[in-house]
Symmetry: C2
Subunit: 281 residues, 2 copies
């Protein structure tokens, strides 16, 4: 496995492999790899001949009061993990390589980014779509893999790829969870022992919602209230949002019907965690 830091180098390597007819799978990450990322790699290994994993903590997608500076980074651990998962290339560019002087082009998916996390993190998705488009143009893979944990991100990226006619297939991989149900995330690293215990409340509330819906409840408001209450029963938890939306448009729905997404963001202490559940009724 090679770690490549320059755009022109990864391009040259991949152009050669593509000319040989190799299928390229791409897993973009911000590093600090965990089982969630590994499940993306595993899936890419199954589908493709060559797997490229990128590691880039993208400053553009962090708000000024967010955790860019303290976001966990450990390239040597990441390299080992990627190697053991049989990743073929790590693309690990510096910030100047990605955002040269005078950089001023941004991609924005309107509508879909003004709700859920987008409403709470202004500019976040503009940063995400811009860096993802850049990476897709650099790697130019056949397929790119994203985790369902960032459900809104996947929806936004799929829309971007469709709208801009990007000839790449976007693959979504299910959420990986700890044994107690907590969705795996690099930000779980921030949690104290007590916070880690209470962090299961996100998944528990989603399971409650699922049960209610399976038992026939169709009113979003009722489900929302039960979820909210169950989260606030945890001393260290505060709700950022709980929303039940149409899975495709991300618009709030009053009555459960069709393909829906139940999404929430909860602060456990100072750490903001997200989780979601998709259902079809």
């Amino acid at each position: 496995m090679d770690v490549i830091r320059r755009i022109e180098d990864i391009r040259r390597i991949l152009l050669k492999l593509k000319a040989e007819g190799k299928k390229i799978g791409f897993v973009p990450t911000m590093g600090y790899l965990h089982k969630g990322h590994m499940s993306l790699v595993e899936r890419a290994k199954k589908d493709c001949d060559v797997v490229v994993l990128s590691i880039f903590v993208n400053p553009l997608q962090f708000g000024i009061n967010e955790d860019y500076d303290i976001y966990p980074r450990d390239i040597s651990r990441d390299t080992q993990l990627a190697e053991s998962a049989q990743v073929d290339y790590i693309f690990y560019p510096g910030a100047k390589e990605m955002y040269p002087k005078g950089f001023s082009t941004f991609v924005n998916v309107e509508n879909l980014t003004e709700v859920l996390c987008g409403a709470r993190r202004p500019g976040h998705f503009k940063g995400v779509t811009t860096i993802v488009l850049k990476l897709l143009n650099i790697i130019s893979p056949h397929r790119a893999y994203f985790g369902q944990k960032d459900a809104q991100q996947v929806t936004v990226i799929r829309r971007m790829v469709r709208d801009l006619n990007i000839p790449i297939e976007i693959m979504t991989v299910p959420i990986k969870r700890e044994r107690d149900g907590l969705a795996i995330s690099s930000r779980n690293e921030y949690l104290s022992k007590e916070e880690r215990k209470q962090a299961t409340c996100l998944y528990e509330s989603l399971k409650m919602a699922e049960k209610m819906i399976l038992q026939g409840e169709r009113k979003s408001e009722k489900i929302n209230k039960v979820m909210s209450k169950s989260i606030l029963d945890h001393r260290l938890a505060s709700v950022d949002y709980i929303e039940i939306v149409d899975s495709r448009t991300l618009k709030k729905i009053k009555t459960i019907k069709g393909k829906i997404l139940i999404a929430l963001a909860v602060k456990i202490g100072k750490t903001r965690l997200i989780d979601n559940l998709e259902m079809e009724i």
Copy 2:
């Protein structure tokens, strides 16, 4: 020569040609082809094995009070002209093909689009960059050809291509002019006989500026005044803007130095025309 209307069809055709090792040259246009477009085709024919010309009057780049509805269109004449210039494929999509229901992704080059024409036509360049990115993704040519007549457009597109790591070479082709110096444009079609006569004032004022600079004048303000006066000597002309800017940043300069762009937009009657001159001092 074939006229292709569907994205998937042009893609399939070009994928096959690329697999055979053919170099693809791409000339995006809004149709109503003239000698300016033909000079782009000519250049593409020299450089590439296959030339694709697109015709799409892009609603997104017209303001609500602009001339989208009356913009001249003549596909049968265009087809003949393209055929005689040995274009290999015309890509001629409909608006629904390019902007399907729910379309909501936009590309914007900040800074460079807030000056010159961008300042007078809000949203125009967002429309241009969005459609050009879409077309580049659909055609995926080796080289794409743009006319220097739209100098700001070329600068903006070059910046987008660099910033988003689009692996396509952008080629600029010099302005084509009528015998009396008027830059060739589809919008010249709008001019009455008397307006057509007075429309030479754009080029004349540029030549005046050039002469002043060659004779040693270095103050933008002075040059600007002379240009302005020479245009306003024409009864049907009114100045939209005259600016002398740094050719790369498009920022106004007080003192002529380095690579500069003298750009202007002038209304002749109701028709807005643009022209420009690049110089290096």
